[in-house]
Symmetry: C2
Subunit: 207 residues, 2 copies
């Protein structure tokens, strides 16, 4: 999540260009300030095309959320052969990055606002149910492989992943909705729990 | 958070009546659908008073958030003499309740929407910074007393509380923004972590 995705730097085709315009407008104005007009201003091609395709900003944002999830699914590097501990560290660095550049902070803030729409809009809830399930499965896979290799203990990988994903959502939410400087504490405490509950004990092989 | 607070069932004075009306309208319409008009409809006394005092719904909602926090501060039962393990269990039952009745679910959904406003509004961010700090301090106190009594290990109580509060915010957010049935898994996994990292070992006294 830290590097600019390809659809932003070099959008391929009309849909990616619309998604890039949506991303930029969303980061600048947030959910409440977003309008189709403001997205159109960032879309080089035919503005009428945009108005023709989307009745309102929610139609467009729901497509945007689906698109972002596809990007994640495609963009996650293949880590089959890596060390389980390193892979877990990579997950933590992605989900709870200690540094959050301004432009990425704006995107996280926009995602937190979009997620809040799911509290009263089933279509958003469906999207975020998929998002969370995707990330939980990814994290669970990382844990499961670590268990298989003996690097991790015999934990319930789905349940462990579920707690981690819950913590990721909480950290993402709190860092853009409070002034508390909490990320380093959260990461340090997470490391303590992972060390105590997940990593195989050092002095003896995992049972 | 499970029982109806006194200001709802028997509001004392004008301010409590306004806060009760705000609560009811917020649960029914959510943040996006809320208007001063809709709050006024639930306010028995002079509607002009409401319009006179608040320029817009955010002024009223910010006062409401401050009021809710005061309610929490006053309403938290004194638990000085209880068992640390029981007190922690009480915190978990309050913050991640396994049952969430519809009316309480509506309130949690509204709080998640209000929190999202903090992503772009400093006044909301100030309120949620205070909210989180209040709960972190409460949880940290519970942990600290458990450490002092020997029931808990020598953990960093502030950091442990910070991770718990982050997890609480994540659980609250996910349960109203996804269809995943996650609370029992989250509670079970939390218990595992608390058992492994917080409770003093059973076979020997804490160091």
């Amino acid at each position: 999540m830290s590097d600019s995705p390809a659809f932003l730097t070099d959008p391929d085709g009309t849909q990616e260009a619309i998604m890039a315009a949506t991303y930029l407008a969303l980061c600048e104005y947030g959910y409440a300030g977003l309008t189709i007009q403001r997205i159109a201003e960032r879309f080089e091609k035919s503005k009428s095309l945009l108005y023709h395709h989307y009745d309102n900003k929610d139609d467009l944002l729901l497509e945007f959320l689906g698109f972002v999830l596809d990007q994640f699914e495609e963009g996650v590097p293949s880590t089959e052969s890596d060390d389980p501990v390193d892979r877990l560290e990579m997950v933590l660095d992605t989900m709870v990055p200690t540094e959050l550049p301004d432009e990425h902070r704006d995107f996280v803030a926009a995602v937190v606002e979009l997620r809040a729409q799911a509290a009263h809009d089933d279509r958003y809830r469906e999207q975020f149910t998929d998002h969370d399930a995707f990330f939980e499965t990814r994290v669970s896979d990382v844990i499961e492989r670590g268990v298989e290799s003996g690097a991790f203990r015999e934990v319930d990988s789905d349940r462990f992943a579920r707690l981690l994903q819950t913590m990721f959502v909480g950290a993402m939410t709190r860092r853009v909705t409070t002034d508390a400087n909490l990320v380093e504490d959260v990461r340090a405490e997470l490391d303590t729990h992972i060390e105590a509950n997940l990593l195989a004990e050092r002095t003896e092989a995992a049972e």
